[in-house]
Point group: D2
């Protein structure tokens, strides 16, 4: 199959077995149900973009496996240029959808993480995981499918490891090994874009030791596989998605974050990429977070672009020039370019793994994660600052009131400013949407917490080398070691 | 009447003419309708508190007019101690309701602003506004009513003054003077807590010059007065208020922000406190913002206390000690105490107006406004940081899914951590509620924008005196004036 | 004696035994030696100010012991108003001297700290320390002397308590008790303004337990007492003080920070206020830091005023209007008023100790310490930002080059801008002086470190109360305690 | 000549005509005079490094003109890799010298800026500037000389352009055109590392219009050319450089910033690269600042590494573990990697100029300039925070006192902590040196002010595109243009 069209993509979703729930109801068709429609629309734009001559060079690349033109989301990242393109593509997708299309980028990261990890496993253990992955990937590329990715386990009591939990299901685990495959049980939670995906790529949630080897599993499954129950989370203002009108002004994208319940799910062997090799669970996670934390800077920059634009719209619709806000707009731009740029830098300073996959710099990618966890908030505050009270908490009547027969004319009369009432209302709702509404993508903890990133930063920062530099510069001849612990 | 009870208060609301609308419907009973019930509950706590022996000393004071015990919200603030008590009371109310009870504090501020302004007008113009205000206030105190306050006009095209607007109604204005009163038309927008109030105190929205004298009006009216239409704004996640369960976990308070449409509303003379005296419109506004920006630091500190607590709950319910978060918690505490403390300082460094009202320091109160517009956001980000992904965007299934017969047991199983699923879910929803949900009070622009505060700061900062200090210290004998403008 | 004049003050210093050293030399006359002259000039301004009709009301107060008019620096602080006056006076002194007059304020704080601590000791232990202090203070007030204060011990290896140190002298301690007094040995380091003082008030450096009781000592001694050696530290650009010209542009103030070596110094009993009562050592320290951390906000605000002015001067001397810098200047003002205001708030929310001394709020005063440790740096960076490269590191030729016969005319020619070369040079040197020169007062660690303040903040923040507030608001019925430690 | 050795480099400096002055004196030998010796030592390390097998690959490259191995500082930057190497090399040099070797990097930037600008001029105007530059560069590479660079003019009254100044010399300008060359007059100020350089590359100080064409000049001259007078500025604590001991602990590097007075200096034609082509003056400046603001992030990161190490040394020498400071150290690392990384990103996203020179991204390089103007200050404050009072203002006695016969033993006794007195003193002086001493490199305004960078950011940020993105996302059909100005 060539690169799929939007319609082919949607059709593929419609054909799947319904297993996504929200508000106590099964969603029969994810492409039309209000709870999932917007995220499907967002992901559909990827399919549209790969046929758009202006941007398809960014959206697609050549498969190093088949030599065919494929979606970049299904590629093995092989160079710094590829990784920089990742950052750019994600920025573009946030520009186009206003928010996250996490049902593809996480899965893509999983592919790349396991590309390296399975290679190492095969080299060192003599397994055939890498070959399995390659075969599956060739098919995935051929069918141009959407693949979401799942790492986060419920974890239960965080003072305990998986095997120490009262309930072993608190982390997804192996239940049974069969000749033709494995059976797994547990859950993955807060998973982005599942409803918009054809398949789900699962990674271990953390690095494990021997007692937790049954939790060291990785595989890929159809989203509608038997035994898998998906419950969508409720997000800020999500019931507006069921309403008419512009209280959610953005129809070109949206987020879902699901809880996946694996009730004895069977995975055939050719889709299993790790099963018990606990020593590689940490490497799988690290191989995942490096590219993830690199490219996510492009994501928040892409939404930041929209924040800049949204704030400009509200100000102008009020009759204000943007000039008095130029320092604030500049600060917003600086924030955007910082997360984007740090990703580009992490990409550039990476190295090629023997498997052929390009791995970004671990220090800079984690520094970027910390920026991603803070700068977009400042950008949002600045957007609210520029936009005024009407946007801060979305302080205007609902669309129903806007259109009310009895008093809607009053609502419109008084919402009109420099621009029409509707334009001003839409602009204000846009700012509400991305600062305090359903457009907020949850980037602080998505892909791991900033505190986790700081641990990596410290581990990578070569602090002792810096102390040595300083000691030599200061002409100090004696050693100045870390003091022994107080007793 | 003595200090009213909660029941007396609610009964007074029930007796009023229904004129509040939301989602295209008239709200028949504000005390029970989901759209207004929570804000009424929040305001009701003020009535409960004044009968609570542990806190009634803070909630009540002695009327300097009648010598009777009255609600502090109906008092004329007469000393630094009174103003500090204002800060403390507001912090307490945020502690108790989790959010804003703006249906009382704004009205209170209006009383105090006009107490000074009407005094000056009477002294200088020979009017009898102060006497009118005093008479009305004695009755208000006697009946222990709730009074909201309204300043913000729609403003229309902000490049133009009220009289320059195409539509004169874009700012509330005088339409007709009758022997027994005045008729006004226009709107006030984004007004807090109106549904929970018995009366509404109206101030001019800005300082005006002669052409805008018909916009220089101040008065107080019953909330259900004839010709007044009230439409509530829609806020983040507000439809959850119509639902069962704990997706809104807080039932002890809530916010409403209304648009008030004045369709030729008649105000009897004894309730009119300014009508055309444009020279005093700016003073009315300034007399309002000084105490408002002083005490609002207590508000955000009070919610900040809850943010600290909420973050602790989520962390612990996950099984984590708060120790690794102690720097973050400390930073949150610093933010809280800074806005609270700056209010106390502004109160302390105030001065007594000849009318007897205590007026906080204009410089410090406006500095505080800038802190109020920034620090709570940092506090919220820290709360999300500590609380993790589950709270950041409220990333968990709805209460309906939690209780679902088919898969609710799975939701509960996997939400359980160190604490029960429900406790953890409620804690996470609490953090969502006050960081990205309906509990966010909109303090950045409430009572005026931070940029407006900065203008006052510059005007009050005595920059030239500081340049002189520096010049003398540096032993510079020549003058160093501001350069003439480039041509 | 009435309030001393500047000349009487300087004369008193000249009469003292020389025991201050710098650069390997004994300073014969502190009032004329370049190393100490500027700090004496700064302290002398206090004596001038108390005879200046415009400000003497702030500089002086009435002794509650004798009813006489005394220097405020020798008073027992008895009310919130007194404490606010402390904040204001310190701000004024920084305005007048450009920097710190720490040779008086620390001693004053010691008096007030020990006023409370000796009272408690006498009440609980039956000692007569409070009476001794009172007698000494009456004389000090009568003679209008300058008293510096000393807390910080060298501490040695910080993993060990005083009694655990290899060298017991690493913290100042009791060597011998004699019938008429005590002998002490050790050092106090980084002590401000000693050269400008008549006496030195010594406090224990920390809270101690029983094994460290010999280190729990407090007393006051003449600065030139036998056995006391004082070595001044070298500070940034301090040798400029020995030069002619304006490379140090400020002649009205300056800082010294000395190391005091106590080589078996005898202290007569009537000057001893603690000797072995280790349980009170912590209280002495806490009683010190509360007022200190309250009023130091006035200090940094006072220098901040000069920073604002200095930046304005450089900009204008370059030919630039300050308008494009108004956001930066506003931010500087906000920083200044925040440290000042938080001090006022801590003062206001204090309480009266049974001894009669007013003690500021421990939480707010420590919050202020954190602001003092950070905001002035931001203010300095903004001053450099506005002032440009010429001020950033003082990037202009020396005064000697400015006046050089051969090429001085070129230096002057090219330094001239909108203002004369000298005015511009002086303005630039002023900014250098207070941002990266000898005018930087060292407020981050002065009076204790910000990390120490954070410990107090956490102890005072009532975190568990806040968790309870949140739990009730969220309707959570089960307890959510701190988890037991991981094993 | 091959790559020069340290000795060859120093010898070349010794052979030059003395024309550098400080403190009213001519410096006969820059390699031994205390005022210039340290900066020569710093620059000498570059010559040492190019013979050091571990780092010579970074320090050297292949000339695209001659194919010979040359110093990277004399190369034309031809690819993103070259530009990234620039960032890395500068970081390394700050690691090795502790501070700036600005006598080479600015000159290098000038070469690269004029490489593009002369190319464009020759293409468009038919001049032969590019050929001249090429010839000169081949010789410069062959002789492996040090070249400093000079842009900043005194500017005089900043409300006026060069030709409007009362004194035309306030910006360096053409005085006379002769057949064999030009004569120039005026000054360049605040020029880094001139004393350590063999030649000086001069660029126009700003973009000019026709009336200012005589100020549009660029050329390169020997540092000791006739008519050039160089006066070094005085910097913080610079007289310590004349002293024995470790009060300046760093002997491996140092900064100088000179004022250059051109008293009718003759420049032969073959060394003139612009003379009157005012339209290219702005391009010369922009071509300069892009690579400069890219690589300077490496500089401040390199010093930031030393700040991290220095703070660790002081903490440990006090007997403290660095663990409680890990958040602060992590923040310092984040700051370092951010300025470094943003430079790498700007390099990566650059483009090749037709002349062959690689030009970094203008938006990201200017964003980096803003970070460079702020983050290192935060890093310094953190270093002081960790290091405590002893480092904050260098609060310890001088080396002379340390070694004093009479009381030096006391100084040493009490400075000893976990480490020896000398090690602790050196560590504290190191932190003083780079936070408030002569090691502070003046990066905020070096290479242009952050406000200038913000202007470029706004120009490059494509704000209107972002408004369009937002408008489409929000489904707004009407235009929302910038409002016309208020009349």
């Amino acid at each position: 199959m060539a690169l799929r069209t939007v319609e082919q993509y949607k059709e593929s979703l419609r054909k799947m077995r319904p297993n996504v729930y929200k508000f106590g109801k099964l969603i029969e068709d994810v492409t039309s149900n209000p709870a999932t429609k917007l995220t499907v629309e967002g992901h559909a734009q990827i399919y549209a973009a790969q046929h758009d001559s202006k941007i398809q060079d960014l959206m697609t690349t050549t498969s190093h496996l088949t030599g065919e033109k494929i979606s970049r989301y299904l590629s093995v990242i092989q160079s710094a240029e590829d990784m920089v393109a990742n950052c750019k593509m994600k920025r573009l997708m946030f520009n186009l959808t206003g928010t996250c299309t996490g049902g593809r980028c996480v899965g893509w990261n999983c592919i790349n993480a396991m590309w390296a990890t399975t290679y190492d496993m095969d080299q060192e253990l003599g397994t055939d995981y890498h070959e399995r992955l390659k075969k599956w990937l060739i098919q995935a590329q051929k069918n141009d499918i959407s693949i979401s990715g799942a790492l986060t386990d419920p974890k239960g009591d965080r003072t305990k490891t998986p095997s120490q939990q009262e309930d072993p299901d608190m982390n997804l685990h192996l239940v049974e090994k069969r000749p033709d495959g494995i059976v797994v049980k547990g859950a993955k939670v807060m998973i982005c874009g599942v409803a918009a995906s054809n398949e789900i790529f699962v990674l271990p949630g953390s690095g494990y030791k021997e007692p937790d080897k049954d939790w060291s599993i990785s595989f890929v499954i159809p989203r509608d596989t038997k035994g898998l129950y998906i419950v969508e989370t409720r997000r800020p203002s999500d019931t507006r998605e069921e309403e008419e009108g512009f209280d959610i002004p953005v129809k070109k994208g949206g987020i879902t974050q699901a809880y996946l319940f694996f009730e004895d799910v069977f995975v055939p062997n050719e889709r299993v990429f790790m099963c018990g090799e606990f020593k590689y669970s940490l490497s799988a996670v690290l191989n995942f977070i490096m590219p993830y934390r690199t490219a996510i800077g492009g994501c928040v920059a892409g939404q930041g672009d929209v924040k800049v634009g949204g704030a400009m719209l509200v100000a102008r619709s009020n009759g204000l020039s943007i000039k008095p806000f130029s320092d604030k707009l500049t600060r917003m731009v600086i924030n955007n370019e910082t997360t984007f740029g740090m990703g580009v830098a992490a990409a550039t300073l990476g190295r090629k793994h023997p498997s052929g996959v390009w791995q970004p710099d671990p220090l800079l990618s984690n520094v970027n994660k910390v920026h991603v966890a803070t700068l977009p908030y400042e950008t949002s505050v600045l957007a609210q600052d520029i936009s005024g009270g009407i946007a801060e908490t979305g302080c205007l009547p609902s669309w129903v009131d806007f259109e009310d027969e009895k008093y809607g004319h009053l609502v419109k009369k008084y919402l009109k400013a420099k621009s029409s009432a509707e334009a001003r209302a839409r602009a204000a709702r846009l700012v509400e949407w991305f600062t305090i509404g359903p457009g907020v993508p949850g980037c602080m903890h998505g892909g791991g917490s900033p505190d986790g990133a700081k641990l990596v930063i410290r581990a990578q920062a070569k602090l002792e080398d810096k102390a040595e530099l300083a000691r030599k510069l200061a002409g100090i001849e004696e050693e100045i070691p870390e003091p022994e612990k107080k007793k």
